[in-house]
Amino acid sequence: MKGATAVKRESGPGAPGAPVDGSTAVADDVLAARVAAGDDAALETLYGRHGAACYGLARRIVVDATLAQDVVQEVFLAFWRRNTFDPQRGSVSTWLLTITHHKAVDAVRREDRRHSRQTTLEALDSSGAAEPEPLEQVRARLRADEVRAAMSRLPAEQREALLLAYYGGYTQREISAMTGVPLGTIKTRTMAALRKLRDSLPDMPEATGSYGPVDEDTRGSS
């Protein structure tokens, strides 16, 4: 689909690899296979489905719009050049958001933009965000509400450790220095927070962990 000027939006971040509306749209993992075979139209479709979620995440972390665009560009080019997506590891959506997070954190550390990071639940209110398709908007909103509720149930210190790491882009050592809490405690809190969050979220898929070694192109070097 060379020269296309508009990217068709089919769904959003809630799609766990399958069309969300039961339509004849091609599932994400099938599109990922086509991307692996060099199909740029499949990449464009995936961008249409998940680009806004990736850009929204990148904007929250790096704040700067241009830098966030660079992050999203890197993510989809990495998906094209060295597609290590593995259906057993999770959905395409999870893969793209994971890589977006890695690259956004790398970018924010390189640019030293930590002062502007948004690391509280209140700051992460996305009600003003651009709206995707109506059906997916509802699904995404409901899921975000579930995540927000699950986060609210975490002990405050665990929630803080999680948000400082994920949205702040701070390393655990930096979090320890910032908060005055021993590094070992930060590590324990982070692990406990992730586990509690996973346990309290409905419909979390099984992860087999059967994927291969880490991909240097998609995992940041920091």
């Binding site: 060379k2 508009a6 971040p13 091609v26 993992d29 990922a32 296979a33 086509r34 692996a36 075979a37 060099g38 199909d39 740029d40 680009g51 979620a53 850009y55 929204g56 995440l57 929250r60 719009a65 560009q73 080019l77 060295r82 597609n83 290590t84 593995d86 999770g90 958001l97 997070h101 890695h102 992460l124 996305s126 965000a129 651009a130 709206e131 995707p132 899921r143 975000a144 995540v147 999680l162 790491a165 949205y167 882009g169 390393t171 655990q172 979090i175 590590k187 324990t188 982070t190 692990m191 992730l194 996973r198 992860a207 962990g209 994927y211 291969g212 070694p213 880490v214 070097s221 920091s222």
Partner: protein, 264 residues
């Protein structure tokens, strides 16, 4: 903390590193040490996968933001020039297949074992059997003959026969019909080759090196190519067609022009 010290403490320190890794919150030296460990630890791979899934849920708090319209154009401009895909149902002669660029060789995995290829093989099966629209349009293109069409149609209606579509950029290049170890390759969009080159059909096993199945040339008549598979279908991840110099099966494929998943 040294690895020896960590081993004395049990696996808990690695579990903690897995959580930090999933959040990209490790220091560079911790990350390097953990990556060396996770390559050999199924438990940690499981924890990383779960951690990344959970972290991806955190991304939902950010909410989607529509990127500028020009961003896709920037991305598209960075993609290497690829052959224009010809729809499989096009009555026109398909474009000559260009080699599928193989992932760079790595000491971690051979290309057919790479996540990229395995993912493609795994989900292409869904394309073969699960997407009616694709099945419906998987017509023989180019020089498809009545005989070849009858062969494919017969296989599709035979429960003992497996149809494997070999595609390049979702353009059908050939169809492989498999009954036990006997196979027939029906070229549907393979171009004529220079006299000094041939196509080779490969069987990609679940483990081990690709097995060369048959060497053939696809002329304008696109005649079916009979072959005997060296391995059972159950032990096969995918099939591939490569372009090779000469007229013999080389030790490994060089320029892959089509690939298709072998099993559901």
């Amino acid at each position: 903390m040294s690895d020896d010290r960590m081993s004395q403490l049990g696996h808990e320190p690695w579990d903690e590193l897995a959580a930090g890794y999933a959040l990209s919150a490790l220091e560079p030296e911790e990350q390097a040490r953990f990556e060396a460990h996770v390559a050999t630890c199924a438990r940690c791979r499981q924890h990383v996968a779960e951690g990344e899934q959970t972290a991806a849920e955190l991304a939902r708090l950010a909410g989607p933001v529509e990127p500028p319209a020009e961003l896709w154009q920037r991305i598209r401009a960075q993609l290497p020039t690829a052959p224009v895909a010809v729809p499989v149902e096009s009555p026109e002669k398909p474009a000559p297949p260009a080699p599928v660029p193989l992932p760079a060789q790595s000491n971690r995995a051979r290309w057919w074992q790479s996540p990229r290829v395995l993912a493609a093989a795994a989900v292409l099966a869904a394309v073969v059997v699960g997407v009616g629209a694709w099945q419906g349009t998987a017509r023989l293109g180019g020089g498809g003959t009545t005989r070849a069409q009858a062969l494919v149609s017969g296989c599709r209606h035979d429960p003992t026969c497996r149809v494997v579509d070999l595609d390049q950029q979702h353009v059908r290049r050939a169809v492989l019909l498999v009954r036990a170890r006997r196979a027939q390759l029906v070229p549907t969009g393979l171009s004529d080759l220079p006299a000094d080159r041939s196509y080779v059909l490969w069987q990609l096993p679940s483990s081990g090196a690709p097995q060369g199945v048959a060497v053939f040339r696809a002329g304008a008549d696109q005649q079916p190519v009979p072959a005997t598979l060296p391995l059972p279908l159950e032990q096969t991840t995918a099939f591939a067609i490569s372009q090779e110099p000469g007229h013999t099966i080389p030790a490994k494929p060089s320029h892959v022009v089509a690939v298709g998943a072998a099993t559901d």
